[in-house]
Symmetry: C3
Subunit: 270 residues, 3 copies
């Protein structure tokens, strides 16, 4: 596949939830679900997967860049679909297994996955960031794990977030549910670079990363997989726990009350 082919391919891939754009050795995916606050639905997971298929088929492509909207990178899994209270047929709702598999694919794809964040990152969105190979952010971004407020946990995010920022920071983000500023996120390594000009930083980074041969990227990602504690069993534990929690009556009540009546869980507390 030549660079022109990558261009043509990107042009042909435009979809409902994602805009795809090729530029040299870089394939840029922009989450484009403004109306739903850039949440993750089943279709988005499929479309990112298809874009990764295309990138992996291309011998030109080195980098896959994931971006959101200005001010909002991603707000996590679509609540309506997660809770099964949306109009989407059950067969097309978010399958948590597929979300976990997407994060694993970020970490094992022979392409370098770079997230460029400019705005809010919440819950599952933090998972996309944590599983990315490299992350750039603007100073106005904010990162939070809000799951516990609903009786849920960031189960799929945890393995990759611990790998990136260590146990305690992941633990305290999960427990306090408080947002972390871009500056703090940079200080403890949730993001690799804090920059006022992400396009410029990305261009410089790409120049450097383009020096790597494709096979080396594949070797590198595959080797590091063996040097850390994430296992398939751990990922299965994550999927099972999410499934268990999502099915709990109190959790379903929390989500339904919010989706249907705009009520937060603590509004009905003592």
């Amino acid at each position: 596949m030549t660079m022109d082919e990558l261009d043509r391919l990107a042009a042909s891939m435009r979809s409902e939830n994602l805009t795809v754009e090729a530029n040299g050795r870089m394939l840029t995916l922009r989450i484009a679900r403004t109306q739903w606050k850039n949440s993750i639905n089943a279709a988005l997971i499929r479309e990112i997967g298809a874009a990764l298929d295309a990138a992996e088929d291309s011998s030109t492509c080195r980098l896959v860049v994931l971006r959101g909207e200005p001010g909002c990178f991603c707000t996590g899994l679509d609540f309506q679909e997660t809770a099964g209270v949306s109009d989407v047929p059950p067969s097309d709702t978010v399958d948590i297994d597929k979300f976990m598999a997407l994060l694993r694919r970020f970490a094992t794809s022979p392409k370098i996955i770079v997230s460029v964040v400019d705005g809010k990152v919440i819950a599952g969105g933090v998972g996309l960031v944590a599983a990315s190979d490299l992350v750039l952010t603007t100073p106005r971004s904010e990162f939070s794990l809000s799951e516990a407020l609903w009786g849920l946990l960031p189960c799929c995010v945890t393995p990759y977030l611990i790998r990136r920022i260590g146990f305690q920071k992941c633990y305290s983000m999960t427990m306090t549910t408080l947002p972390i500023s871009a500056e703090e996120a940079h200080r403890f390594n949730l993001v690799d670079e804090l920059t006022d000009n992400p396009d410029d930083s990305l261009r410089k980074l790409a120049l450097r990363l383009n020096l790597l041969e494709q096979e080396t990227i594949a070797d590198l990602k595959s080797y590091f997989r063996k040097m850390w504690i994430i296992t398939s069993e751990m990922e299965q534990t994550a999927v099972q726990e999410t499934t268990r929690l999502s099915a709990l009556p109190r959790v379903r009540r929390n989500i339904t009350n919010y989706v249907q009546h705009g009520l937060f869980p603590w509004h009905r507390k003592d």
Copy 2:
């Protein structure tokens, strides 16, 4: 159990080594062994355990707050009891297994354990801090692992301290035995918040944590246990190694010389 019951319970629990106080959803335990520099003896371990029993029985309680004296949080295991040179009958000396179990309980209790530090934290005291879910500190605090000076090691502290601050910082603290300032402790995550006004910070934190349902806290702590490398075998290794080291003639000599004659180990060195 209502909030009033928690109050009454706290009032009834006042003891030799610990003062217990209820305040809303919060049960505060203050280590009160001023005369013995807030060291940990067998009775203190039992009394903290009893307070945790009460907290866990209460559906109101969310937070258990552990505090020390002003200027001294905790100076670690009582040397006289550890070395078996105290007047306390052997059947009532610190059982290292019970200390390890207390740290595990901090990490697995369905209540959130918050340590509020204002002063010195030494040896086993660092273990109480490291195993806490969240830690606040004032700027004047200082943290050190002095065990190696006596031929001992912070065996029970290590699993939880590595979990919190990473391998190398735990390793260098153990090896150099040098104190770490509150500011540095905050920079590398031994404490979660550095504050001039811990009561105010604690109040804000409690407001946030009170949004979590009790079951969610239990789920969270149980889930994170599966996402990290601490195992029962590792904890047994810690207990066995402490037992082995404490029984070594040179270690017993080091401690006896200090307890009976005020001599430090290096005073009798070449």
Copy 3:
């Protein structure tokens, strides 16, 4: 062995690639391969091993200090020997197994290994630093993992570097191949102390470390080995992957082109 004996021993050990000097309880090894940019060859690995043998035989010695040349600590494995394109007979080229074993020995030796860095540290040189118990550096030092530019990976370095700086920093250093300043290296714990006067810092550190009994150092290092994820299998994986990568025709071509014609891999790229 008395201190005088350690002195005499050090004097007798002067060799082609290393200068050895005794000073009180400290044995200082200086990598002295200026002509070859302080790269690591088979002879250097042997000579460091012999110096460690002597240190371990001495009951006086507490610290083994590893230093480089001013401006250059170590630039990693000798490329000519690694690729088998040097004049050195194959039986005397770097055996990657021996390099991995040297790092393990740093981490398990009953002596404290302190690296004092003042200048460039590249590739395998970062491994020597990462596996050291404690590291001091001057502000002008710089640390980089350049392996991926050649189609190689810092396989042996990775276990020890992750142990020291966490997964993500090791991952991003490997992938971007960009140098890290001393200040940044200090911030994320690749070095334990940043100092303008390493001799003074080392002297203070030695005063403190000399308080430890020899057996305690041995106990400490052996205990921490059980508290972390590095296993013999992981080290074997590292050796096997380095061996596989070094034998790849494209990697050998990269190195031969550089060694014989001064060409970098990217010079022959599209």
